[in-house]
């Protein structure tokens, strides 16, 4: 039907009403084009300056669209999309202990993870996300679902003390995880990280092993940390130290550390994060819905800590729309600090793109539209009357748009979404599989 739907990336020119390159922050280029060759950004120039060199390249004309870098979702559990709406309006520990974990115990296997991840990938691609960090059991299945659909991901190796369908012990998680790491070493789309679940589910020895392998393999550590006040207080009651302190003692703090949530932080901890160059994956909607707390984003950014965005799993969100998450991040920080100038639209977009790339250690490759970077690109359609008038395209993108307005998604130059249609996967077949999971889950409970 269209030259863009072929499996391989095609050279082409995207001619847009507005191009927002992300770097420099706040820049909006009128009537610009992005030239894509061999899956990479070859040039960004005013459309009227397209010359002979571009004559034979197919053009994608986007007269009412804003084109920017693909969004980067730095924290999620894609397979849990199968539990979207399954248990809502509950506090974190009740939700986990009495609803999510029991159903996971009963149903999680390789097929569950493959189908759930495929569902999440389909939704993320359709809403402009081109890369996601994912933590779940059966990372091979996560990786397969991402790769088959042309999606980019950091697939984490989960490490937890409790036995589950994938592994019995911390040792076995690591063993299987390292084998998985080896199996994707040559992938152009998949990177890996070690993901000890949280301080309350991993032993000191488990963390030490994680630190050792992270250094050896030079891969990141991805960790739920200080998600709630209760978690911090329970740890202090238990062994007299805050989880952050314990993580520091065990050697986790470095620029390879990706901390997730961080709603409870002292001034000293923020300084330490900045000193060590550790990153924060902020998940505002999950934190709000589970009443976990509010991450001090403004203070973190002021201290120079890199803060990116994550949706968390769809079971605690309940969507994977990163544009919506960026809006919520801006709004939540403004009201939490009482400062309406905090986290501007431009800053929120940076958090959803280049900051995510930095967190993943991929900022040479993705996160902004710059010559030489991978052509991970999205187009947002501003035709609808809900986007009129157009006083400020960047404001419109963050404060008025959501994932539904994304009309094109390219990953490494390959078109994976076009005009409301996923072009890299069979949505109808996927829906049938998802319905079958729904029936299974509901009939057994």
């Amino acid at each position: 039907m269209c030259f863009l739907m072929q499996a391989a990336p095609s050279d082409h020119v995207i001619c847009a009403r507005w191009v927002v390159p992300v770097m420099p922050e706040g820049s909006v280029l009128d009537y610009h084009s992005v030239v894509v060759r061999e899956g990479r950004i070859d040039a960004i120039l005013p459309t009227r300056e397209l010359g002979e060199a571009h004559q034979n390249l197919p053009k994608v004309e986007l007269p009412n669209h804003l084109v920017t870098a693909g969004l980067i979702n730095t924290h999620g559990h894609a397979a849990m999309t199968l539990l979207r709406g399954y248990a809502d309006d509950l506090p974190l520990m009740d939700w986990l202990n009495n609803h999510i974990w029991p159903v996971e115990d009963r149903f999680v296997d390789e097929a569950f993870v493959f189908d759930g991840t495929s569902l999440a990938v389909a939704e993320m691609i359709a809403s402009g996300t081109t890369c996601a960090a994912d933590t779940y059991f059966f990372p091979d299945a996560v990786s397969q679902a991402m790769t088959e659909n042309g999606f980019r991901g950091q697939v984490c190796i989960p490490v937890v003390q409790f036995p589950n369908a994938w592994a019995e012990s911390e040792e076995q998680h690591l063993e299987k995880g390292l084998a998985f790491h080896d199996s994707v070493r040559d992938s152009s789309l998949i990177t890996t990280a070690l993901a000890p679940h949280a301080p309350y589910t991993v032993s000191d020895n488990g963390f030490s092993q994680v630190v050792k392998y992270s250094a050896e393999l030079q891969i990141p550590i991805h960790l739920h940390l200080h998600e709630t006040k209760g978690e911090v207080e329970a740890a202090v009651d238990d062994d007299g130290q805050r989880p952050f302190e314990r993580m520091q003692r065990l050697g986790l703090l470095s620029s390879r550390l990706q901390t997730v949530h961080m709603t409870e932080l002292t001034e000293g901890e923020i300084h330490t994060l900045a000193d060590k160059g550790a990153h924060v994956a902020h998940c505002p909607e999950s934190n709000m819905k589970l009443a976990s707390g509010i991450c001090p984003v403004h203070s973190l950014l002021e201290h120079g800590v890199n803060v990116a965005l994550g949706t968390d799993g769809a079971a605690s969100n309940n969507d994977l729309d990163l544009l919506g998450e960026a809006r919520t991040a801006a709004f939540l920080t403004k009201v939490a600090t009482g400062d309406a100038t905090s986290v501007s639209a431009a800053r929120a977009l940076s958090m959803a793109t280049i900051n995510g790339a930095r967190l993943l250690g991929l900022d040479d490759e993705i996160g902004s539209l710059e010559k030489g970077k991978s052509a991970d690109i999205i187009a947002v359609d501003f035709t609808d009357i809900a986007f009129q008038p157009m006083h400020n395209p960047l404001s419109q993108l963050i404060y008025a748009a959501n994932g539904t307005q994304v009309s094109y998604t390219w990953i490494a130059g390959r078109c994976v979404y076009q005009d409301g249609r996923n072009t890299s996967l069979d949505v109808s077949a996927l829906k049938t599989r998802v319905e079958s999971w729904q029936k299974k889950i509901q009939s057994k409970l």
Copy 2:
């Protein structure tokens, strides 16, 4: 093109996968139909029980859709949609004094208000809102834009001390406003209210006049109150009393009072609101974006105060999507109270519908799907993969959907939106007028 597009309401049957009648709260009816006759709800029954009496009625088949009551937006300034994105990331008083008010001074006239309101109405209809309370200058133009587009509204009569394009003094606002009130007395779609802008812009005498006319005409009072801590502190510094106290002294507190924002409230004030039966229009996204503060929704609801939802103007939101607002209201209250069970999905839907009807004094007519009520109905399309699996339709509606998924809107039985298309107004002509305003505003500043 379709029987639904005729100007008059048509008798028909809406056959839905799910019907959420709003009352009783939390109820979800599988495979039910809504029978509409002469613009009113005639019956709600299982689709398989449709009988001979319904045989000749046209059917609207909605096999993947949730059908519920039209949403009610209890606070906005529709004309300001022309300033969407015009001045963002600024605190309330800077935003008003240095950006919004100057541009309003320069441009607001009858045509601005008519076009801006038409734009807002188009967006609200498309995102499932069927009724809105609106406060702006030139209420005749607001009313005309609503009526022409088949939209239901409470059109407020603005009262402020400062002269503007519509009126010179508080007296003149009231005089013109009362004439406007008389002119729409027979309208089936428009009701009126008196809207003294805020304690800091209306004199004691102005408020006394408002109270007098409200009692005489038995119409509500719509008032911005305690929007920010700064507003309350400035009033205390100025005359030693909190604005709420002054409003109480001036006799505004009654079940006809619609207070807007209310981010700063003492326990005593909450008790008084409950005792007097006054209502609160909660505008979470505007309050977050302008860093105004957080309305204590949980406590208000616990004390029996009726809390409804408003988007506020698009210049401080920046959309008019009430489903999104309901989600934000749930999330914000959960995180503000630390209680994830607070404002459930079902409660958030009540706030967006029946509570809005109560605030407007229209709960005998709209706000839920009940026999005899006006057929103000919306359908939300859950076909998309982002709504799979469907463990809980009500969760999906509030936590995963937004206005974009609304596929049908009926007001008083008349179809005003169908499959992505406004059927009661010429969107293309409207866009041309909006673009012309955009150019004017940008060229003059």
